[in-house]
């Protein structure tokens, strides 16, 4: 493994910012910080406001850099607010994903034998069903979902691959001598998992979380676009895109929130790759 890697003089964790190849990541991160703090900067009320009534479907201008939509609303304000909501939902969903995935994967690895095989085959089955399909099927049961409910649903359908990766890592770790030594000292299974195995999983979990946030934002936007998530008057990137459906002449209503999604997903993926590289350079180059 190590010799197949491109020579990197000092292996181990390197600060992301000091590497010139990571600068795009820093730029995206900055952009993104602006979006998170957006509601403060949003020029207008994203739900529509008095001062811009009767200004529907205006093309981008100085007053409305992203234009306005069919409801007299400022698209820039909607994109900023939508980014905040989308990010919030995705972050919460990823927390749920990590909790379930890590627990399931670690338990599977520690059980070993046929139980491990069974649990992993179940994961294979779950992964073979398209996630959007599961979500559409499940959300069909409710007229509308609240913010935490949607986050929970996204999280509960997203942990399968985290479980598989965690199980793989944990299985490798459990073969190591220190695990045998720890058991020989009378440390129980729970303590072994939490105190001895879990810290070794953190780097890979951080990378997976970063990549998962990007994916979840895209997925959440898809759901909203399809009208399966929260009620339509909720501001989110997906619903904002939805507002522009069938009105190609008012392209700004769709293009700006779409670009925001692309940018966020790109930023997260780039960050994930950079993190993966700084945690384990040899693995990135070998694969």
């Amino acid at each position: 493994m190590a010799d197949s890697a491109v020579a990197i003089p000092s292996a181990g964790v390197r600060p992301v910012g000091r590497n010139p190849r990571k600068r795009p990541v820093m730029l995206l991160a900055l952009l993104f910080a602006v979006m998170i703090s957006a509601p403060v900067f949003a020029p207008y009320n994203p739900m529509g406001s008095e001062e811009i009534s009767l200004q529907r479907n205006r093309s981008p201008s100085i007053a409305h850099p992203f234009g306005t939509d069919g409801g007299d609303r400022d698209v820039l304000s909607r994109v900023l607010k939508g980014t905040q909501i989308s990010l919030g939902i995705a972050s919460l969903a990823v927390v749920v994903t990590l909790l379930f995935g890590t627990a399931y994967g670690t338990i599977s690895a520690m059980l070993g034998g046929w139980a491990d095989t069974l649990l992993m085959r179940a994961i294979d089955v779950a992964l073979s069903i398209p996630r959007l399909l599961i979500l559409l099927a499940v959300t069909a049961f409710w007229d509308s979902l609240t913010f935490p409910q949607l986050a929970l649903l996204l999280g509960l359908t997203g942990w399968f691959d985290v479980a598989r990766v965690t199980r793989g890592e944990a299985t490798g770790l459990l073969q190591r001598d220190f695990v045998l030594a720890t058991k020989a000292m009378g440390v129980g299974r729970i303590r072994l998992a939490v105190r001895h195995i879990f810290p070794h999983l953190i780097p890979i979990l951080v990378v997976m979380a970063t990549l998962a946030i990007g994916n979840t934002i895209a997925l959440e936007a898809s759901l909203m676009y399809l009208g399966a998530g929260m009620p339509l008057h909720t501001v989110s990137l997906g619903t904002t895109i939805q507002d522009g459906v069938g009105k190609i002449q008012y392209w700004w209503i769709t293009v700006f929130p779409g670009a925001a999604i692309v940018l966020i997903v790109l930023a997260y993926n780039a960050l994930g790759d950079a993190l993966r590289e700084s945690f384990a350079p040899e693995q990135v180059h070998a694969s």
């Binding site: 034998g113 001598d177 045998l180 030594a181 020989a184 009378g186 303590r191």
Partner: protein, 351 residues
């Protein structure tokens, strides 16, 4: 009182008190694609309280698997077969509940591993790892456990223990790491410590220091030590009794002096001859020809016969029993009954 059956203790070396550890017909088999590997195949021995016993043999003879089975930590697919018994302090390790066993491990029965670099968790400080043993077995608080750990690190000869305790394993030298392992194993003053090749991974000068430390701690706390090694020099220095293993079986068992004076089994003879001696002119080092056969296919009859300089037709047909040679001295060899064969062979060799 002596309930450890006739095969054990019939030599009279044991008094009427139960030994601290009594292993009886221990069999550990591994199901492999090549067949069943009989890594440990009917091993019986005892360790009395406070006694130091050396367990000697080549790589692959089953000594490490024996050690791990004493803690019931044989890695899968290894299995302790039914009929095996490991009595420790009146409890049978093979049938104990997982929780009772956990309470024993590291507390009454501890193990020191060969490779302190890999046996310590790289992401926890050494102080945390020593303190953890206290935490899982006593009701000590976090800070009490930490204080005990620091004290223990001091008593295994780690300078600046309060500073060292906050360091990670990679920040310590090999000798220091082994001292940490010893601190972990000994902090709760267990009755028995199993040391699996505790000095093999270390420099020679450090080896002597570590052995000295083990001896000192043993004498101070009165623990029993099962010292697993391939190094007869270590055995001579530390142990009072030696068990020699070959191909999953005990082939010789003797007080240390008797073994060095008059090894009864040709394998032990070979091991002793292979130790280079200072001041003796030798053109080349003595070796035992061949290697240990694979545990999936032990030879019929005597398992050592392929490599034995004395082997004759009886060795192929009949597996030798562990026979009494002298007081507390037994060997698994037909030569015990037919000593003239050894003389004849030695004479031929001299020609």
């Amino acid at each position: 009182m002596n309930n450890t059956s006739n095969t054990n203790g019939a030599d009279g070396s044991l008094n009427s008190v139960d030994p601290l550890l009594a292993v009886n017909s221990l069999r550990v088999y591994f199901a492999t694609p090549e067949g069943t590997a009989r890594a440990v195949d009917g091993v019986s021995f005892t360790v009395a309280a406070g006694e130091t016993v050396g367990l000697v043999g080549e790589s692959g003879c089953g000594k490490s698997v024996t050690a791990l089975s004493l803690l019931r930590l044989v890695p899968a697919p290894g299995r302790i077969e039914t009929g095996s018994s490991i009595r420790f302090d009146g409890k049978d390790i093979t049938t104990l509940s997982e929780e009772s066993l956990r309470q024993l491990r590291g507390n009454r029965l501890a193990m020191i591993f060969q490779e302190p670099m890999t046996a310590l968790n790289p992401v926890l400080t050494v102080g945390d790892q020593v303190a953890e043993v206290v935490r899982v077995h006593t009701s000590a608080s976090r800070s009490e456990a930490w204080d005990r750990a620091v004290k223990m690190l001091a008593s295994v000869g780690i300078p600046d223990p309060a500073v060292r305790a906050r360091q990670y394993p990679h920040e310590l030298s090999g000798g220091m790491r082994q001292r940490v392992m010893i601190a972990m194993a000994l902090i709760l003053e267990p009755q028995l410590v199993i040391a699996d090749e505790p000095t093999t991974a270390l420099d020679v000068t450090i080896q002597a220091q570590i052995l000295e430390l083990l001896r000192e701690l043993r004498d101070r706390t009165g623990l029993a030590l099962l010292l697993i090694t391939h190094d007869l020099g270590v055995v001579a220095e530390m142990a009072s009794r030696v068990i020699v293993m070959y191909a999953g079986e005990v082939v010789e068992e003797a007080p240390v002096n008797a073994l060095f004076d008059q090894a009864a089994h040709p394998y032990t003879e070979g091991l002793l001859a292979a130790v280079p001696r200072f001041g003796e002119e030798q053109d080349r080092l003595q070796t035992i020809r061949g290697t240990v056969p694979p545990p999936t296919a032990w030879p019929s009859g005597c398992r050592f016969r392929d490599r034995c300089p004395y082997a004759w037709d009886r060795c192929e047909k009949e597996a030798p029993a562990l026979l009494q040679v002298g007081p507390a001295h037994r060997a698994r060899c037909h030569l015990v009954q037919e000593p003239e064969r050894r003389v004849a062979q030695t004479a031929t060799a001299a020609l």
